[in-house]
C-alpha cells in the first residue's frame, strides 16, 4: 500500500503535483526554480525518459549532478545531448520540438495569461512601476512556442486577477475562439496551472480557468476564496492524492536538500 506523507509544505505539494502532471518521454522545457525540481522528481519516480531542455542551451542532460541553481549553470550540462546557446534552445522550441513548457509567474488571469514584469499601471507607469519584477526571461517564449505549458503558481487572491497589470506570457489571450492562432502563435497554450491549493485547467470552449482537483487540506470553497476571479467548477472535481513518503523524501534528501527552491518561504 502507498504510504502518504503526513507532513509536507505547500511548496512540496506543488512540486509533487507538478511532477505527476508530467508524462514520460516528453521534451520538457524547464523554467527556473520549482519546475526543475518537479522534473527531477518525475524522472526519479514515474517518468525516467523525460527530456529536459534549458533555455541557456542544454538539451537532454542528466540531472544527476545536483539541482541547478540556474537554468544556465553547469549542473544543466552534464551529459547533455545537444549544447549550443539560447538561440538554439528557443529555435528548436519555435520549431515544435518542445512538448511541454514548465513555467512560473507572479500573477495570472482567468485565461492563463501571466505577468512577471511589473505591478502598477501599464503603460502609464511602465517606466516607474510600483513594483518591478525580474522580467520575462524565457517564460514568454515558452508560453508562446512550447506545444503546451504547465504553470506553477503560489495561490493567493492578489495573484489571481481578472485583469493583469501586464501580460508577459500569453495564455489564451482574451479567450475568444482561436485567439492564439490569430495572434500568430504556434503552441496550443496552457494545459495546467498547479498551485499551492489546486490543480486547474481550462475549459475547452471558453478557455477560462477551471478547477480540476483540490490539494490536500483544501476545498472547492477555499480554492475559490483564494482566487480573484470566478473559477469554473465542474461536477467532477476531485481531491488530489497526497504526496507519498517517498516523494517527500526524494525532494528533501535527493533533489533540493539545501532548500534552494522548495523550502523557501513564500514571498510576499
Amino acid at each position: 500500500m502507498t504510504k502518504y506523507a503526513e507532513d509536507f509544505t505547500a511548496q512540496e505539494m506543488i512540486v509533487v503535483a507538478g511532477s505527476r502532471t508530467l508524462v514520460d518521454n516528453k521534451v520538457v522545457f524547464a523554467g527556473t526554480g520549482l519546475p526543475m525540481v518537479a522534473i527531477t522528481l518525475a524522472q526519479l519516480t514515474h517518468s525516467p525518459g523525460i527530456i529536459p531542455v534549458f533555455e541557456a542551451g542544454a538539451v537532454g542532460p542528466s540531472l544527476s549532478r545536483g539541482l541547478p541553481l540556474s537554468v544556465g549553470d553547469s549542473r544543466t550540462t552534464f551529459r547533455a545531448n545537444y549544447l549550443l546557446g539560447l538561440n538554439s534552445a528557443f529555435e528548436l522550441t519555435q520549431r515544435g520540438f518542445a512538448d511541454i513548457g514548465f513555467i512560473g509567474g507572479a500573477e495570472i488571469d482567468p485565461y492563463g495569461n501571466l505577468n512577471s514584469t511589473m505591478m502598477g499601471e501599464f503603460p502609464e507607469n511602465y517606466q516607474k512601476p510600483k513594483v518591478r519584477l525580474p522580467g520575462s526571461g524565457g517564460a514568454s517564449d515558452m508560453a508562446c512556442s512550447c506545444e503546451q505549458t504547465i504553470i506553477i503558481m503560489v495561490h493567493e487572491p492578489r495573484r489571481f486577477n481578472k485583469k493583469l497589470n501586464y501580460i508577459t506570457s500569453p495564455g489564451y489571450l482574451d479567450g475568444t475562439p482561436n485567439a492564439r492562432w490569430r495572434a500568430g502563435l504556434a503552441g496550443q497554450g496552457p494545459y495546467r496551472v498547479i498551485t499551492t491549493k489546486a490543480v486547474l485547467g481550462f475549459d475547452d470552449e471558453t478557455k477560462r480557468m477551471k478547477l480540476i482537483a483540490t490539494l490536500p487540506g483544501e476545498t472547492v470553497k477555499s480554492v475559490q476564496d483564494a482566487t480573484g476571479f470566478e473559477l469554473i467548477i465542474p461536477s467532477d472535481v476531485y481531491e488530489f492524492e497526497p504526496p507519498t513518503v517517498e516523494e517527500i523524501r526524494l525532494i528533501r534528501e535527493a533533489i533540493d536538500p539545501k532548500g534552494y527552491f522548495v523550502r523557501k518561504k513564500i514571498k510576499e
Binding site: 527556473t32 540556474s70 544556465g72 552534464f78 539560447l86 519555435q94 512556442s145 501586464y166 502563435l185
Partner: protein, 336 residues
Amino acid sequence: MYWTGLSPDEARQFLANKDKSKRDKRMGLKEAVQKYVKDGDNIGIGGFVNARQPVATVFEIARQGRKDLTLSFQSAGLAIEYLAGAMALDDSKNNIKRLELAYWAHEAFGISPLFRYLTENNKVELEDWSNYNMSARFKAGSMGLPFIPCRSPLGSDMLKTNRAKIIDCPFTERPIMLLPASHPDIALIHVQEADIYGNCRIQGPLYTCPEISMASAHTIVTCDRLIEHDDMTRYPNRISIPFFSVDAVIEVPFGSYPGNCNGIHYFDEKHIPEFRTACEKFRKGDPVALQKYYDDYVFGVENFAQFIDKIPFEQLQYVQKIEPSTTLEAAFKVLE
C-alpha cells in the same frame, strides 16, 4: 525607427573599414576598457544570469567610471548588479541610462535589489523583451540583417513599448514579429579559453556570446586561461568566436567569479548572498554595507586579481571542487 548602438548600415560600414588581421591582441584590462568602452556606449553583456558573466571587466569599468550607458542583454545578474551598485553609490561617476533586457535577477539567489531600486525610482529607461528576442536581436546583428522574424511573445504587452513590429507574413498571411537587430558598440565576453588572436573556445552553454560579439563594433574578451594558438586550432569545430570578431584579449583567472564558469568553478554560494544582501540594504535605505563592499573589493583594489586575493583560499578551492561539469583538459599556457 531609432537605433541604439549602431544602425545596421553603420555597423556594416564600421566593420568594412576595420582591420581584421590575425595579430596579438593581448593587453591589460585597464587599457582595454580605456580604449574600447566609452561614455554613451551601448554595451552587450555576455553570459547568462550569474554564469560566465564579464564580472572582471565590469569591476574595471566601475573603477574608471562610465556614463550614459545602454546595457543590452537577455538574462543577467551579477555583472550588471555590480555596475548598478557603482551607480547607486555615485551616479556622477557611473550611470546606466537605458536597459534593453529580458530578465534581471539572480534565480536561486533571489531578485535583484538594485534593478528594483533603479526602476521603481525611474532612474533608467526600460525596454522589455523576451530572452529569445534579445538573443535573436544579437543574432540578427551578427548575421548582418536589419531584423529577424520571431513568433514570440506575440500577444504580450512587451510589444506595446518595444520596437518590434508585427506584420502579416507574406507567405502564410499569419501575423509575425520582426525584431530590429542589436549592434552594441562594445561586447563584454568572458570565456574559459582564448588564444592571443582572440579565438575563443567556450565550454558548456554558449549563451548568446558568439552572437553578441559578432554583432558588436568591438569586443573585449577576458578568459580564465590563455592557451596556445596551436591547441585552439587543433579542434576547429570547437572554436566558438573567431579571432576577427575580437579586439582585446586578457587572461583574468576567475574573471566571472563569484558566478559560475563551466568547467572551472561553480557559484560562490557565500559571496553572492554577501553582495546581494548589501544591495538589498541599499534599496531599503542603508548604503553602508554596499559602500563598504565597493571600498573593499572594487574601488579599494587595483585590479581583479587583488579582489580575488581577498577571497579566502578555502572558499576559492571549494567553488572549484564542487564544479560539476567536465573539467577542462590541461592546456599549455602561452609563454610570456
